[in-house]
Symmetry: C2
Subunit: 82 residues, 2 copies
């Protein structure tokens, strides 16, 4: 089962990369408001029962243990086909 994890800086956390992108977009003439930059991770999970609950639980553990920093980042899990 394939999944995409979207990892974003939490609201209130400084995002210098987002500010830099915002500045560059404005210099290029785009009228943009807030810009935030995060990461995405596409993962292929081997789930025995092909159960999406199991996959979601596994990916949640991956996020907590490795993929995201829960102090400053929030994450969102999207399972393919759900």
């Amino acid at each position: 089962m394939r999944a995409t994890v979207l990892i974003r800086p939490k609201q209130g956390i400084l995002d210098p990369q987002g500010e830099a992108v915002q500045g560059s977009l404005r210099k290029l003439g785009f009228a943009v408001g807030q810009v935030r930059v995060g990461r995405l991770v596409d993962v292929e999970v081997e789930v025995e029962a092909n159960g999406s609950d199991d996959a979601r639980a596994q990916i949640k553990r991956m996020c907590d243990e490795l993929l995201a920093n829960p102090l400053i980042e929030s994450y969102e899990i999207r399972l393919e086909g759900s």
Copy 2:
């Protein structure tokens, strides 16, 4: 109008970051297949007519001009509420 741009390394393009994450996840005991790491950009676009076609066209131009490297990256635009 808010939008999220998902930027991924194209298939066939080496993704050392994804390989590193894959290795780390396996060391932690997770049975994962391919892992790819990309970026995401949340943008607030000021669209006069609030037209989603206009917003999508604007964001496509941002991607081509600044956000993505079309040689090695593909991007996907998701407008909020669509």
